[in-house]
């Protein structure tokens, strides 16, 4: 019961912070988004050349380092890996492709709904269908195999990479790119973003809050523990948006499908993009935020998934897979179909023939 109260509290705090991030300077309808922010960071490193989305987002650094410090403090840091890294890398890449077709990770999907953007509804439907297909494979014996313990250094690499990113964000050497217009040019001050990231990293490490796991456990084992955190997050973000005056005449938000900031108004591809996210995330075992947090806990398999997310973002923008407010990218729909087929093949062929016991 204590744990349940803690995860609801964590969801409430995260929901309030995520909504307020827009008032503090992040792009409207994009208070916190693990996928968008990894994409922006990928662009800042020059791995894609979409100039409106290039900025090292300190929130990402905070998620990993917050989880790292918390895991060390609570003696839960365990360096481990070796569980199907190449499959995780590709699943991570396709999670990003699906997210950039919908234009948001499962966190931003809830935030968009809490900001009146009803394009989140077909996306939510797609996410749930993706999760249900993933559960079908889990019940059929799908898993990515056991990990083994590694020397501590291996688990420190992703947190050290994030420290390196932080140094690049602070000192801004010439090769780091920064958007002059577009969502990448709109951000909260570095210290605020980092602090919020650290707090969220702590909360997610302690509670295991996962924006896909909540739905998965609801259907798979009829358990509402993780879901209660999601529900609290959504309610807190919605109430905060009303209290902060973000709705209404002077506000930035309105209810509806049209003219939503940084959003695609295309029900089919919002649905299918998020179905890809739901399926790939269920197979890989956690949403993008959760993967960042696990990578801070020493899980090098999650670190590989995170690198897959970066690679997916680079590919998506280099090859015009990503959507924009104007519509889906040239190759977005076909890449979602390829991603769905890939996930179905992985789900089918990576089942254990004889289940344990």
């Amino acid at each position: 019961m204590k744990k349940r109260i803690f995860i609801i509290g964590a969801g409430l705090v995260f929901g309030v912070l995520a909504a307020l991030m827009v008032n503090w300077g992040n792009p409207p309808n994009m208070g916190i988004c693990a996928a968008c922010f990894i994409r922006d960071t990928t662009g800042a490193l020059g791995l894609h050349s979409a100039t409106p989305v290039q900025y090292i987002r300190p929130e990402i650094i905070g998620f990993v380092l917050g989880a790292f410090i918390t895991a060390l403090s609570f003696r839960e840091f365990r360096s481990r890996g070796g569980s199907s890294p190449i499959v995780r890398f590709l699943l991570g890449a396709f999670v990003m492709v699906g997210a950039l077709v919908f234009m948001g990770c499962p966190i931003r999907m809830l935030l968009r709904l809490a900001g009146g953007d009803l394009n989140g509804l077909p996306a939510l439907g797609g996410l749930i269908v993706g999760v249900l297909v993933g559960i079908f494979f889990l019940r059929q014996g799908f898993n990515l195999g056991r990990s083994v313990r590694f020397p501590a250094l291996a688990g420190w690499l992703m947190p050290l990479f994030m420290v390196g990113l932080l140094l690049l964000a602070v000192f801004q050497p010439g090769f780091i790119k920064n958007s002059e217009q577009g969502p990448g040019s709109v951000f909260v001050p570095l210290a605020v973003a980092l602090a919020v990231g650290l707090v969220v990293g702590f909360l997610v490490q302690r509670t295991r809050l996962c924006f896909v796991g909540g739905w998965r456990d609801l259907f798979l084992i009829r358990d509402t523990y993780l879901f209660s955190g999601l529900a609290a997050f959504f309610v807190a973000a919605l109430v905060t948006n009303y209290i902060a005056g973000n709705f209404g005449a002077s506000g930035i938000y309105h209810w509806g499908f049209d003219n939503q900031p940084f959003a695609l108004n295309d029900h089919l591809w919002n649905f299918l993009g998020m179905a890809l996210v739901g399926l790939a995330v269920t197979l890989v075992g956690g949403c993008p935020l959760r993967q960042l947090v696990l990578s801070g806990e020493g899980d090098t398999d999650a670190s590989v998934t995170v690198i897959g997310l970066f690679a997916g973002a680079a590919v998506a923008h280099n090859f015009s897979l990503n959507s924009s407010s104007a519509g889906t990218g040239t190759w977005g729909p076909v890449s979602v179909i390829i991603g769905l087929v890939f996930c179905l093949v992985i789900g089918f062929f990576m089942r254990e023939k004889a289940a344990t016991a």
């Binding site: 889990l138 990990s147 295991r208 075992g285 344990t356 016991a357």
Partner: protein, 76 residues
């Protein structure tokens, strides 16, 4: 008595494999070995819903759960 070693598996595999072991062996005491406290919590919540009694011991850094089905609890 059925024993399963689920060390090294990440969420949600431990809970799924425990669920399958219960479905295959109804009315049998099942012991499960897991590495993480979170797996331990998940399995406890899932099995308590099925009215199993759960005993958790810490064994050299891992967690051993003894899951006793409701039909056997009544006999003791």
């Amino acid at each position: 008595m059925v024993e399963i070693d689920l060390r090294g598996y990440e969420c949600p595999t431990p809970v799924v494999k425990t669920m399958k072991a219960i479905e295959k062996n109804p009315g049998t005491v099942i012991t499960v070995l897991v590495e993480k406290e979170s797996s331990c919590d998940d399995i406890s919540r899932m099995t308590q819903k099925k009215k199993y009694s759960v005993k958790v011991e810490k064994v050299s850094g891992d967690y051993r759960l003894t899951l006793t089905p409701p039909i056997l609890i009544e006999y003791h």
